[in-house]
């Protein structure tokens, strides 16, 4: 009898370790409480919209040696529709992928001649939120190509790599145990559907990298620096993992 029980446990354990089936994919929105969902659904109650408003101002603000704003080249921000769902994307000049924050800072340096925003600064997050907001409702569609593949593989490897003093991988919580509770909080599937996200715990908008750092500190690992290649690779894998899910920026999460 004991052998049989062990066998059953082993079998369910093995089944749970597989990747989440596409039909079971659920956004963090579905795991959030009704109050958080109500905040996200109402644009005048969603505090993330304050960041979007700030980003709208920055979009039209001239910066750097070129004396140009984002709008001077890109025109109306509606031209950014469908951009955020493709990021992180490969930048040939750097031979590595850039996430949306990285792309904005790249654009500032290369095309505006302005100093890049500091990592996770309010302005960078706000402008990213404004750009991503243009793609709200569109399905996540990171590109798959030979150039991105090594970074995607790295991201996948990092997602499954045990790390930190708690010796946990991302996958052990977010693939194997989603829907269960970690203390009082429900473990979501780690789909980056609403970044930059307004997190009530932060009382501010924050990027996906900030969220990743939170999780890494949680397992007592050394977090990646903002813009580190590993962080971008992990973002890339997470976006690829969430392929087809609609973007919710700016989402509200507990």
């Amino acid at each position: 009898m004991r052998v049989l029980v062990l066998a059953v446990v082993a079998a369910t354990g093995a089944a749970a370790a597989a990747e989440i089936a596409p039909g079971d994919r659920r956004s963090g929105y579905d795991f959030a409480g009704p109050e958080s969902r109500a905040m996200q659904d109402d644009d005048t109650a969603n505090p993330g919209m304050l960041g979007v408003l700030q980003g709208e101002t920055l979009w039209a603000t001239k910066a750097g040696a070129s004396g140009r704003s984002c709008a001077d080249c890109h025109g109306d921000a509606r031209s950014m529709k469908g951009v955020a769902v493709r990021y992180p994307a490969f930048e040939p000049a750097l031979a590595q992928p850039l996430d949306l924050e990285g792309r904005i800072n790249w654009c500032r340096r290369e095309h505006q001649g302005a100093p890049p925003f500091a990592g996770e600064s309010e302005d960078l997050v706000a402008l990213t939120a404004f750009v991503a907001y243009q793609s709200r409702g569109l399905p996540i569609a990171v590109q798959e190509n030979a150039e991105l593949q090594p970074f995607l593989d790295l991201g996948k490897e990092l997602f499954h790599r045990r790390q930190g003093q708690l010796n946990l991988s991302c996958s052990q919580c977010h693939d194997d145990n989603w829907g269960k509770r970690l203390a009082g909080a429900v473990i979501p599937q780690a789909d980056p559907t609403g970044y930059p996200v307004y997190r009530l715990e932060w009382q501010s908008l924050g990027s996906l990298q900030r969220r990743l750092r939170n999780c890494m500190i949680g397992v007592r690992a050394e977090p990646y620096e903002y813009g580190a290649p590993e962080a971008v690779a992990l973002e890339l894998y997470l976006m690829e993992r969430a392929y087809g899910m609609p973007l919710e920026t700016p989402a509200v999460r507990p």
């Binding site: 109650a45 505090p47 009382q203």
Partner: protein
């Protein structure tokens, strides 16, 4: 100027109860937190919110350090006549931000 989002109906029937939602960007620094050097970060909160409808006070709130950043205040009033609804937030520095919205009552 802090960024503000205000949601109220542009038109209402006389006597109708309307919901007003306000959201303002503010750090609401409690004064209890310590900065990187160990020194206390000085308190900086919005401590007063006031709403007047054609000059008459219809809603007032006192805010305290336990209120989260970007305070969201929602309340109801009765649409009595067309005119101006004025919102003002006052912070610890004594600075007041005022926003005005029009309402048409028919």
């Amino acid at each position: 100027m802090a960024r503000v989002l205000i949601n109220l109906p542009a038109r209402a029937k006389r006597g109708e109860i309307i919901e007003i939602k306000t959201l303002i960007a503010h750090p609401m620094e409690t004064g209890y937190r310590l900065g990187p050097t160990g020194a206390a970060i000085p308190r900086d909160i919005i401590n007063r919110f006031l709403c007047t409808y054609n000059g008459e006070e219809v809603f007032r709130a006192a805010l305290f350090p336990a209120i989260a950043a970007n305070p969201f205040i929602t309340f109801f009033t009765v649409a009595t006549e067309s005119g101006e609804i004025v919102f003002s937030w006052t912070d610890d520095h004594g600075e007041t931000q005022t926003e005005v919205r029009q309402i048409t009552v028919e």
